[in-house]
Each structure stands twice: as structure tokens, then as C-alpha cells.
């Protein structure tokens, strides 16, 4: 499936922030390509994983500067197209699910109205059609009572409900490509599974490309097909998810080993030794 032309091609992506205190290089020379598959990006805070996702969608905050030898989505050069066209693409054919539904949904609009707004921003459709489509989508994310959730304000929904509503909102325009930035970190372990299962099914059914950004190596490797491990803005290693045990890079191994395991783990836990040479 992924043998066709890749959906997304990233070559030598750099994100820099020119600050008073000097230049911060958040992402340094990241390259990968994505077909209709699930790619995981793993790293600790500050590894540049979220900035990579944001740069692809053109969401790098103002002082930031994005450069790349190549950044194309379905053959469209994302760095040179007009902002207006990029805005149409974003939210339409490529979307992003953020970490915390509490902060990323509009608190003064009902979930339903937000979904209608999202749909009508990208499709020529009446309110009625948008409403039907939204309800359908809420049902697809396994809301027990879509009509009720539709009329709720974000603060009236639980974390898991809010996150599912956000997934529904992001998928209502039938995108080809989705970035999920820590979509389950704010959720309970049990709810997490449910949300991931929904995401997994929708991605598989619709043949979407997915980038899943997380700090949880275990979770990512069990969910994705391939994993990129990032540290200090650089890709340390790229692995097939099943080959995690065969990881060679000391950073990947360190990340794996420092997690306590249910079956028992070393006392004390091995901690990560960081080698400054990795970021050279």
C-alpha cells in the first residue's frame, strides 16, 4: 500500500527560532516520507517532535523560520504555496488533533457548532448537510448519544468525550493526512485505549496517513507501523515498530529501559546517559 507515491515527503526540515538570546534550532535536518500508514515520532520534551508536526502544517509560531529541501504533500510544495491555499489544505485535506481537548476546543461554542463551522469552512454545504455529517462523525467515534454531545459545550464533556469530539471534528472533512500530537496523554489509561482504537479504525478504514507524536515509546511502538526516534531536534533512529527490541541507537535503548515494566524491572531503574555527540 505504501509502495505508491508517498503522501508526504520531508527532506532536510529545519525549524529555527531567532531569539534575543540567540538562535534555537528546534528541528535539525529531519527527513522522512509517509505513505498511507501510521508513523510514530517519539522523543522527550524539547526533542523537536511537536515542532516537526507543526512545521508540516505551517503552524510554526511567528519568530520561527522553517526551511526544507523538500516539503510536499501529495505533490504540492507546502513551503511555496500561498497562505490562502495552505489554509484550505489545512483543516481540509490535512488536519491535527491536539493534546488537550480542554484547551484546544472553543469554550464558548457547542461541540456541534464547531463541527459545522469546520465542515462548512472546507465544503460548500448548507447547515443541514453539515449537521448530518457531524452527527454521523460523532457516531463514528462511538458517542453513545451523538445528538446530546452535539449540543454540549466543551466544559460539559469529559476528557475522553472531548478528545473523541475533537477527533470527530478533525475527520469530518475526510482528510488524507492527520497529525495526532500526544492525543491521549491527557487521558486515563483505560479511556486512552478506547480513543486509540477509534483513531486506529478510522485511519485504517479511510486509508489515511497518520503521524502520531508521543513521548511514550511503548505506546507508539504498539500503535504505529514505523517509529522515528528524535533527540535534540534530530532523528536518532528510524525503526519498524516490531523491531523495537532490535533498536541499536543507545538513546532508543535508554528510552526503552528506563520505563518500569509490569513484569518487573531493575532496581534501581537504568537512567538515560545522554551523549553530546548525538546532537552534533
Amino acid at each position: 500500500m505504501s509502495e505508491q507515491k508517498p503522501l508526504l515527503e520531508v527532506e532536510n526540515l529545519n525549524v529555527r527560532f531567532h531569539l534575543r538570546t540567540g538562535t534555537v534550532e528546534a528541528v535539525r535536518g529531519v527527513s522522512f516520507s509517509l505513505g498511507r500508514e501510521r508513523l510514530g515520532i517519539v522523543g522527550e520534551s524539547g526533542s523537536g517532535k511537536s515542532q516537526t508536526g507543526r512545521a508540516i502544517l505551517g503552524l510554526t509560531p511567528p519568530p520561527g523560520e522553517v526551511t526544507a529541501d523538500r516539503l510536499t504533500f501529495d505533490g504540492i510544495d507546502l513551503l511555496s504555496i500561498p497562505r490562502r491555499q495552505l489554509r484550505n489544505l489545512r483543516g481540509g485535506r490535512m488536519t491535527m488533533v491536539m493534546q488537550d481537548p480542554k484547551y484546544s476546543l472553543n469554550p464558548v461554542m457547542t461541540i456541534g457548532d464547531q463541527m459545522i463551522e469546520a465542515y462548512r469552512a472546507h465544503r460548500r454545504a448548507g447547515r443541514k448537510e453539515a449537521r448530518e455529517k457531524s452527527l454521523e462523525m460523532l457516531e463514528a467515534v462511538q458517542m453513545r448519544d451523538p445528538a446530546r454531545v452535539f449540543s454540549l459545550y466543551p466544559h460539559e464533556a469529559s476528557g475522553g468525550m472531548g478528545q473523541r469530539a475533537m477527533i470527530a471534528m478533525m475527520l469530518v472533512t475526510d482528510p488524507d493526512f492527520l497529525i495526532a500530537d500526544e492525543p491521549t496523554s491527557a487521558l486515563d489509561v483505560t479511556v486512552q485505549q478506547e480513543v486509540l482504537r477509534i483513531l486506529d479504525r478510522l485511519v485504517a478504514e479511510r486509508g489515511m496517513g497518520l503521524i502520531f507524536i508521543s513521548h511514550d515509546l511503548r505506546l507508539v511502538s504498539s500503535f504505529c507501523d514505523r517509529v522515528l526516534v528524535m533527540y535534540g531536534g534530530k532523528v536518532m533512529e528510524e525503526l519498524a515498530a516490531g523491531d523495537l527490541d532490535a533498536a541499536r541507537h543507545p538513546y532508543t535503548r535508554g528510552l526503552m529501559n528506563c520505563l518500569p515494566a509490569l513484569e518487573g524491572s531493575a532496581h534501581p531503574l537504568p537512567t538515560l546517559e545522554r551523549d553530546p555527540a548525538w546532537t552534533q
Binding site: E44, V189, R197, C258
Partner: protein
């Protein structure tokens, strides 16, 4: 060391009445590390807050070191029991230096020799003296949590209540904090109650644990039992499975 019997915590009244903890009992021996596991809203943090007097106890008894806890909690109580909170970004005063943060409990408890005590507390949690006059925003998440642990330790308590001490931290930093907690407990014969939603963390640090849901006890078990796959309830097994990573429900959806 800690004996809780039929503890109930009720917030609000009438239509807004919420029973956060319903008739919970547990006994924790001195020097033991005990885990409380559950999802958000299960009442696990409320139990810790009730022990400290931060949540209203509506029924049941709490005894620490053989004596029922005083109401309101007095200084002697807090010299025995200290708490470390979840979010190191929220639990340290942003306008106080580490030195001021650590002086406060000493001032409240009228302890002398502050200089030496602060230096020792910092050294105990693996922070050098160079951290002493920094503000919280000049520290990383792991360093802040170390300061919060130092603040709890500075009074030489016998019991430390840990409310999700590592859930706001990166995996590698979590390992460092867990190692620190384990070392401190071994060195000082501390008693821990650790609240977490992560079974792997709890089984790493604790021998016995209690699974909670909706304010009720689901199961009281120990790490050995869980590792041998002898969880009694379906809920505990679901939690265990969730800890191990994502599993596809319908195998048909995988290629």
C-alpha cells in the same frame, strides 16, 4: 503505621452531593510502600487529601502511628506526614527561591540550624548547592520535583504521601525520580503511599496495592500476585492490559 477504617468523603449536599470515597479501609505497616491505583475520579487522590486534612472526612477513622489524627491537623502531625504533589509546575511558589521554599517548613516548625538542614535536604535529593538560590522557572520539571521532595523530607517525616509524583515528567526523568524515592525510603525507613494511574510505576515501587474505582475498593492485591497474572477482577486485568501498550480490539483491522 497508617490505619484507615470505613473512610467516606462526601463533597457538597443535596443534588450536588458527590461521594468521592465510599467506605474504604486499608492498613499500612511501618516502612511499607503502598500503592493506590485507579483512573481519574476514582477517589485515589481524595484519600491522600483526607489523610492530610485537605478533604472532609464524613465517616470512618484515620489513625497514624496508632493514634487517631487530630482535627484540625497539628504541627506534630505534619512533622510525621508530608505530601508530594503531582504537578511540580504548580506546587512550588513561582516568586520564591528554592532556599525560601525549603525555609518555610523549618520556620513553621521553629527548627534551628536552617542553613545546614537546607543544604542537607538538597544534597539528599541529588541537587547541588548551586540550585539553592534559583527560582522554580530556572529549573527543569525533574529538578522541580526534586525540590518538592526535599521540601517534604526536610522535616524528617516518617510517612510521605505521593500523589502522581512522576506523571508530569518524561520517561527518563521519571526513572530518576523513582530511583530517588526508592533510595530515600531504603535509607530512612520511610512509609510511602503512592497514588498513580500507571500500574507499572506502582508495581515498581510498591509491594501491596489497592485498585479503586468510583470511590470504592475494586481489589486489594500485591505485586507478586499481579505479576503471576492472578488479578481477581476484570477491571484490574483491563488496567494491566492498558499498561502494556495499545492492543487492537478487532484483529481484522490489522493488515
Amino acid at each position: 503505621m497508617i490505619d484507615i477504617r470505613d473512610l467516606s468523603v462526601v463533597f457538597g449536599s443535596g443534588r450536588l452531593r458527590v461521594e468521592a470515597v465510599k467506605g474504604l479501609s486499608m492498613r499500612i505497616a511501618e516502612g511499607e510502600s503502598f500503592g493506590l491505583v485507579g483512573e481519574s475520579g476514582s477517589g485515589k487522590s481524595t484519600v491522600l487529601r483526607a489523610i492530610c486534612g485537605l478533604a472532609p472526612v464524613s465517616a470512618g477513622t484515620i489513625a497514624v502511628a496508632g493514634k487517631p489524627v487530630p482535627v484540625p491537623r497539628n504541627r506534630a502531625f505534619f512533622a510525621t506526614v508530608q505530601m508530594v504533589f503531582q504537578d511540580p509546575y504548580g506546587s512550588l511558589h513561582p516568586r520564591q527561591t528554592v532556599d525560601q521554599i525549603l525555609s518555610e517548613p523549618l520556620a513553621i516548625h521553629r527548627l534551628s540550624d536552617r542553613d545546614r538542614r537546607i543544604a542537607r535536604a538538597l544534597a539528599d535529593v541529588g541537587l547541588g548547592s548551586s540550585f539553592r538560590f534559583r527560582y522554580p522557572h530556572q529549573l527543569s520539571g525533574g529538578q522541580r520535583q526534586r525540590v518538592a521532595i526535599a521540601r517534604a523530607l526536610i522535616l524528617d517525616p516518617r510517612v510521605i504521601l505521593l500523589d502522581e509524583p512522576t506523571s508530569a515528567l518524561d520517561a527518563s526523568v521519571q526513572a530518576e525520580i523513582l530511583n530517588l524515592l526508592e533510595r530515600l525510603r531504603a535509607e530512612r525507613r520511610l512509609t510511602y503511599i503512592l497514588v498513580s494511574h500507571d500500574l507499572a510505576v506502582v508495581t515498581h515501587l510498591c509491594d501491596r496495592l489497592l485498585v479503586m474505582r468510583n470511590g470504592e475498593t475494586v481489589e486489594e492485591t500485591d505485586t507478586e500476585h499481579l505479576r503471576a497474572g492472578k488479578a481477581e477482577t476484570a477491571y484490574t486485568r483491563a488496567l494491566m492490559k492498558a499498561t502494556e501498550g495499545f492492543t487492537r480490539a478487532a484483529p481484522a483491522s490489522t493488515e
